[in-house]
């Protein structure tokens, strides 16, 4: 047989999209589209591929009643990837254009395409949540949740319900475990408990946070009231984040401070825990990644003992400027077992209130901003002024002109270092009164204007303590000594109300007269 001179085939595509054909293919093959008489289209425009790991398609021989479902792993999470993957099933060629998948066939009929989510593995999910919400090295992990099983006891119900009642698994696989924010642990919440998220602009309804607790799905939106008896809860973020949230206020909850991820909360400026039954510690960085956090308020709902090693509060968020550990009226006391566990962290806080933390060694770890409005410690019994205080504010300026450092309304206030003369500048007012103070260090510097002017100004209020005459005299003598050579003087020095009465005497009385003559107001017993 002689050679042919070639085969000439002319193909015309009547579709507006590409069509794959096998030239000289085997028309018995399932891939063959020869004589195809049916065009199929699947619109996947609404598909987000969140959590998808499998693609399935219904298919049957023409004329048969029942479909078979074929499926395979899907790794290319795109419309094109779906088409390519379906084409590997040997049931025809699938093409993608835009959000549409097309196929042509005659011998096979196609049904639905199904994108399947991964399989929920509670062990893996809870392990991821544990490692995320209570990071290795955090005090909360060491002290409260040292084992996975303890963590699971608190949170597995909420996580299970999140997976079972929402598309949480899909979002976890898309965004990571951070799409779950755990709220509270075991034990019921207080009456009237709530969580309120404040937004700059709410997301569309279907993308807003979903609240789930141990009782099941609760609500979608920006506020949550725990259902009766709920013992654990979480927020699920369909978008993997809460970029619209600027503040979170938790009231009457029983929740520890779990890890806040800055990818989830990039615009969170304010965190408030009112009447909380959980413990307060950020040690290990639970809040430290929040670059927007400037205000943290917290008060607990009952008397408690802080176990040894439970460093409190140790918040080191870089932009924290208001730290308020206070509530309405005088809050129930928290007493440290080990006084050095009181740790304010190193943030540059301008507004500070610490109330009802007993047996605290306060080593003044906060950074100096020169713009302190108020650092107020009140109703803290047996506070020790740490040795770092003596020279902490040597170089402080008075950018905020009426900044005040106050320790008041406590008992048993003492100084760790009574030998090193204090250098405490930049404050308009230094008030350590009504605190049972029995001794006071020598004073080397105590001038609001020391680093910013030539005058000497101070309001030193040590009234209503238990300072003896000898200490009252020494304070006056030191102040008279260090106020020499300035261009002007102003302020009030209040040493009155000591128990027992401690009127200045001898050199102390002379110093008092000198200080009055310089222009200070003197108040004594």
């Amino acid at each position: 047989m002689g050679e042919t001179s070639g085969i000439s085939i002319r193909l015309a595509n009547n579709y507006s999209r590409p069509v794959r054909v096998e030239v000289l293919g085997n028309n018995a093959s399932n891939m063959s589209q020869i004589g195809a008489d049916t065009s199929y289209e699947w619109d996947l425009s609404s598909e987000t591929f969140g959590g998808v790991d499998t693609i399935a398609i219904e298919v049957r021989k023409t004329g048969e009643v029942a479909y078979e479902t074929l499926f395979t792993a899907l790794t290319d999470l795109s419309i094109g990837g779906c088409a390519k993957t379906l084409s590997t099933l040997n049931i025809g060629y699938f093409e993608a254009q835009g959000n549409i998948i097309y196929a042509l066939n005659k011998d096979l009929e196609y049904g639905e395409i199904e994108l399947r989510l991964g399989t929920y593995n509670p062990t893996n999910t809870l392990e991821a949540a544990y490692n995320f919400a209570v990071p290795v090295g955090s005090v909360l992990r060491n002290e409260t949740y040292p084992t996975q099983s303890l963590f699971n006891t608190s949170f597995s119900g909420a996580v299970d319900n999140a997976v079972n009642n929402t598309n949480a698994l899909s979002w976890i696989q898309t965004y990571g475990i951070r799409t779950l924010f755990l709220l509270n642990g075991v034990a019921t919440n207080d009456g009237g408990a709530s969580v309120v998220l404040t937004t700059s602009s709410p997301k569309s309804a279907s993308l807003q946070p979903i609240f789930v607790d141990s009782d099941g799905l609760v609500t979608q939106g920006y506020s949550y009231t725990p259902s009766g008896g709920a013992t654990g809860g979480c927020i699920v973020f369909p978008t993997g984040n809460a970029t619209e949230v600027t503040a979170i206020t938790l009231t009457g909850m029983n929740t520890d401070i779990l890890y806040y991820d800055n990818q989830v909360w990039p615009n969170l400026t304010t965190i408030v825990y009112n009447s909380n039954a959980g413990d307060l510690t950020s040690a290990g960085g639970m809040l430290d990644q929040l670059t927007g956090l400037n205000t943290f308020n917290y008060y607990n709902n009952g008397v408690r003992t802080i176990s040894s090693g439970f460093t409190t509060p140790e918040i080191n968020a870089v932009n924290l400027s208001t730290l308020n550990l206070d509530g309405p009226a005088v809050i129930p006391a928290s007493t440290f077992t080990t006084n050095t566990d009181f740790n304010l962290g190193t943030s540059s806080v301008n507004n500070l209130v610490v109330e009802s933390y007993n047996n605290a060694y306060n080593n003044f770890s906060l950074a100096v901003t020169n713009n302190e409005v108020q650092h107020l410690y009140q109703f803290n019994d047996n506070m020790v002024v740490g040795s770092a205080f003596n020279t902490k504010y040597e170089n402080k300026q008075d950018t905020f002109a009426t900044g005040q450092l106050i320790i008041t309304n406590g008992s048993g206030l003492t100084f760790d270092d009574l030998a090193t003369p204090i250098k405490c500048n930049g404050w308009f007012r230094v008030r350590m009164n009504i605190s049972g103070l029995t001794d006071f260090p020598p004073i080397a510097e105590l001038n609001q204007l020391e680093n910013t002017g030539t005058a000497f100004a101070i309001n030193l209020l040590l009234n209503s303590n238990a300072l003896p005459v000898s200490v009252v005299n020494q304070v006056l003598i030191d102040l008279d000594s260090i106020t020499t050579g300035y261009t002007g003087y102003s302020g009030t020095i209040n040493l009155s109300g000591q128990t027992p009465s401690a009127p200045p005497s001898g050199a102390g009385a002379t110093a008092k007269t000198n200080l009055i003559g310089k222009g200070f107001t003197l108040i004594t017993d």
Partner: protein
Amino acid sequence: MIKDINTYELNGLQINECAKCTAYHLVYDDDGLIHYLAEEEITISTSKNLFVATTQSEVADKIDSNLLYFDSRSEISDDCLKEFFN
């Protein structure tokens, strides 16, 4: 009863001083800003204005007639804040 105020000069300053007594002690400057107000048993010496009285009405009258005010610079006891400014 309004207490007597002793006045003398020290280093060119006129000093106002009261003997130790239990009374309301009110210190204010010429602008009307209250620097100190409390009811205590103390002795007080100041180059600012000093008013000492034993009754609440006397202090209230003084505050009203002199248009006295307070701000973050004032040292006023909680009780006096409630009595005179609430």
